[in-house]
Symmetry: C2
C-alpha cells in the first residue's frame, strides 16, 4: 500500500505519480482513509507542479470510479451536453438544452448550484413554481426519452470524490489549478454518460479564468481529457467582460430565457447559444441550422415540456421582487464597459446568490442591464435596475457597482461574443 | 477577522502576510479554529514560496506566544545552549552541557526524542537507570542553579503551536522547508530563555540537510532569527557523512560520552564538541580553553552531578544487548566511506530508534563502528558490531548496510569535522 506522505513529497518535488498510486489515493481519500490535511497538501503541490496528461487522465478516471456512471446507451437518440465554466447572466443551458433536443439529440444536463458571484442553473429554474431539481436516475432516463432534454441535480453517487475534493479545495485555496478544475468538470460530465460535449470556457472579469491564456489552457486540457475518455469534445472561448444578455438573477434569467426561446433574445445571448448549439449538433452528427428552432417555436415547446416533466408549471407567474431601484448614467456618451463581475456581485448581494452552500437564494432578486456596452447613453438615463425583496441589501449592492460603469467619448471596439474554438 | 482561505491564497500567489494575519493564524490554529487541512495547504504554499525575514520573525514570535517562556533571569550565571539539526551518533549534548557548565555557564538543554534514523538525546539518557527526562519548570531552575546544566524534555506549555505544526508537517510532506524548520527550532530555543545559542547544522548523507548550500541557508536563517529575538546566536556547519564517534544507539552513546568526558573520546567527536564549546563560551563572554575541562575531570564531575540531580545513578551498569554480530571488510584497502544514514537506519532497525512517536526504544541496541573512514583495513577485519536484544531484527539491519561501506586503494581525502562557521 502506498504511503500518502511519500506521494505528497513526490508530487511536491515535481515527480509523476504512478497509475496505481493515483487510484489508491483517490479511493482512500473518498473512503476517509487519507486525511483532509494530507489531500489539501497534495492539492497545493499540484497547484505548483501540475500534472502531465497521463496523470490527469488517470486522476480523472479514478474520480469517476469513486461512484456510479449513468448509462445512456438505452436511448435511441445521440447524446450531447454542454458545460460552462460559469459567468454572470449565463442562462445559456436553459435555452440550449431544449433547442438542441428539438433536433433529436438527447441532452442530459446534470448541473450544479451557484456559489459566489456566478449563478447556478438549478437555482434559476427553481424559481419556476413546482419545478424539481432532484430526480432519480430512472426519472432522468424517462424525461430524456420522453422530452429529449433534462436539467437536474447530479445525484450523490455521481463522482462522490469530486464532492469531497471540491469542498476541500474551496476552503484550502486550491481551486485555481487547471488540472484540478479540468478533472472536477470532466469527471462529472464523463460519468454523466454523454457521448459528445461542448465546453463554454468564459474569459474576462466575470469569469473564473480572467485571462485568455489560462482559459485557452483549461479548454485544451479539458478537450484532451474528454477525448482520452472517448467523449467527442470541443470548446468555445466566450467573452465574459459584461453580463450575458440583460438579466442577472434567477427568475429574471428564466424570463429572459423564455423570451430568447420565443425568438426575442438579446443579440449576445443568442449568438453564444447558437454557436454552442451548432457545435453540439456537429458533434452529434446532425447537419442543421439551430436558429430555425428559435424562430418557429420548436425549442420553446421542448422547454415547456421539460419544465412540465419535472413538475413545473411553464405558465405560472414568476416571483417579482418587492423593491426596485435604478442606477443611472453619471454622464452622456458611449457605454464602454459594464463590468460583469461587479454586476454579478451586486445581484449576489441583492439575494440572487449564496455565500455558503447551505444558504437559500432569493428567486426574485437580481439586476437588469437596461443598456449594454456599445450603447450611446444620456446623462441620468437608467443603466441598471436593481431588484430585491430586502431593502437593506441595496446599499451594499450599489457599492459593488462603484467602478462598474465606464462612459467615454468614443464607442468601445466591437467585441464578438465568441473568441475562439478548440476542436477535438 | 482574517479569512484563512484569503491568507492561503495570498501566500500561494507569492504575497507577504501581514503581522496581524500571521499572529491570528497561529493563534487560531493552535486553538483549533483554523482547520488542519487549511494549515497544511498554507504550509505547502510556504514550501514553494518561502517567507521573507520579517514574516519569519513574526511567524516565530507568534509560535512562541502560543505558550509560556521559561524565565532564566533569576540565575546568577550567563546562559548558553546548543541545538543540533540531528545526526547519526550525535551524542554531543551529553558531553557539551556539563563541559560548558564547568566554566560557570548555565546550559538549559530542553531536548526532544528521536524519530527516524537519528536518535534523540532523551532516549539516550533514559538508558541510565533512574534518570528522568520530565522535569517541572521549578525543577529545571533548581537543577540549573545547583549543577549548572540540565538536559530534559520540553514541557507541553513550551510552544504548543510547534507541537501541532510539527505533527502536521510530518504527515503532509511539509517538513523540508527552511523557514518552517528554522521557526520550529528557534521558537523552542527562544522560549527556553537562553541568552546565547550555538547551532550545529549537520551536512551530509546522515543529516536532515544533505547538501551544503541548503544547510548554509538554514544556518543563516536561524542565526538571523535568533538575533532578531535578542539571542546571541552563531552556527557551525559540521560533517555528517559518517557517524560521529564510534557508537550509534542509546546506552552505547552514553558510554562513549562518559569516555569522552574522561578525555578518552574519538577525535571527530572531541573536535566537534570542543568547537561548539568554544563558540558557546565565546557567546557567553568567557575566555577559556574548553579542552582543559575534559583533561582534568571537571566536565565529568558536572555530568555525574547532572545525572544524579535528575534521579539517575551515574555508577549504574548500562544495559547490554543479548546479541551481537559483526560486519567484516569484504576486501583489503582503505576504508573510504562508512555511510552515516545507512548506519543510522541499521541502528534504528536493531531497535535504537522508533518509527512512530509512541513506540518504545531499546536501550541496548545499536551499532559500534570498529573502523572509521581513513583507516586501513584487512579483508575479513570486523568493521561494525551490531547489537540488539531481538535476533529477528539483524537481517533487516544488515540489509540497510548493503552499500554503506566503501573500500578503495587510496585513502579518502582528509575531512575536517567542522566545515564552516556562521557568526552572528
Amino acid at each position: 500500500m502506498p504511503d500518502a506522505v511519500d506521494l505528497i513529497r513526490a508530487k511536491r518535488d515535481g515527480g509523476t505519480l504512478a497509475e496505481d498510486d493515483i487510484r489508491w489515493l483517490i479511493a482512500a481519500y473518498t473512503a476517509g482513509e487519507v486525511a483532509d490535511e494530507q489531500m489539501s497538501a497534495l492539492l497545493m503541490a499540484v497547484f505548483f507542479t501540475g500534472m502531465d496528461s497521463a496523470e490527469l487522465a488517470v486522476w480523472t478516471d479514478a474520480m469517476i470510479s469513486s461512484g456510479e456512471r449513468l448509462d445512456l446507451s438505452g436511448l435511441a437518440a445521440p447524446t450531447a451536453d454542454k458545460h460552462s465554466t460559469g459567468g454572470v447572466g449565463d442562462k445559456v443551458s436553459l435555452i440550449l438544452a431544449p433547442l438542441v433536443a428539438s433536433f433529436g439529440v438527447a441532452v442530459p444536463q446534470l448541473s450544479g448550484r451557484g456559489l459566489g458571484h456566478t449563478g447556478g442553473t438549478l437555482d434559476k429554474l427553481e424559481s419556476v413554481p413546482g419545478w424539481r431539481a432532484a430526480l432519480s436516475n430512472d426519472e432522468i432516463l424517462a424525461v430524456l426519452a420522453e422530452v429529449g432534454c433534462v436539467i437536474c441535480a447530479a445525484g450523490p453517487d455521481l463522482v462522490p470524490a469530486d464532492r469531497r475534493l471540491y469542498a476541500l479545495r474551496d476552503v484550502t485555496g486550491t481551486v485555481e489549478s487547471i488540472p484540478l478544475i479540468a478533472s472536477s468538470i470532466m469527471s462529472k460530465k464523463i460519468a454523466e454518460g454523454t457521448a459528445a460535449l461542448v465546453l463554454d470556457v468564459k474569459v474576462g472579469s466575470g469569469a473564473f479564468m480572467p485571462d485568455r491564456t489560462s482559459a485557452w489552457q483549461l479548454a485544451q486540457t479539458m478537450v484532451r481529457l474528454g477525448q482520452a475518455h472517448g467523449v467527442r469534445t470541443s470548446a468555445l472561448l466566450t467573452r465574459m467582460d459584461t453580463p450575458l444578455g440583460r438579466a442577472v438573477g434567477n427568475a429574471v434569467e428564466v424570463a429572459e430565457s423564455v423570451a430568447t426561446l420565443r425568438g426575442e433574445g438579446p443579440a449576445d445571448l443568442v449568438a453564444v447559444t447558437l454557436a454552442l448549439a451548432a457545435e453540439m449538433l456537429r458533434l452529434a452528427g446532425i447537419d442543421a441550422d439551430p436558429a430555425a428552432a428559435l424562430a418557429d417555436g420548436r425549442a420553446l415547446d421542448r422547454y415547456r415540456a421539460m419544465i412540465a416533466a419535472q413538475g413545473g408549471d411553464p405558465d405560472a407567474e414568476l416571483p417579482v421582487a418587492r423593491h426596485a431601484e435604478l442606477v443611472t448614467a453619471p454622464s452622456a456618451g458611449w457605454l464602454r464597459a459594464l463590468d460583469a463581475r461587479a454586476v454579478g456581485i451586486a445581484a449576489w448581494r441583492l439575494g440572487a446568490g449564496r455565500a455558503r452552500k447551505e444558504d437559500p437564494v432569493s428567486a426574485a432578486a437580481g439586476v437588469i442591464c437596461l443598456a449594454k456596452p456599445g450603447d450611446q447613453v444620456e446623462a441620468g438615463q437608467p443603466l441598471l435596475e436593481l431588484r430585491g425583496d430586502d431593502q437593506g441589501r441595496f446599499g451594499r449592492a450599489r457599492q459593488a457597482l462603484t467602478d462598474a460603469i465606464e462612459i467615454g467619448n468614443e464607442p468601445p471596439p466591437p467585441a464578438e461574443p465568441v473568441i475562439d474554438r478548440i476542436a477535438g
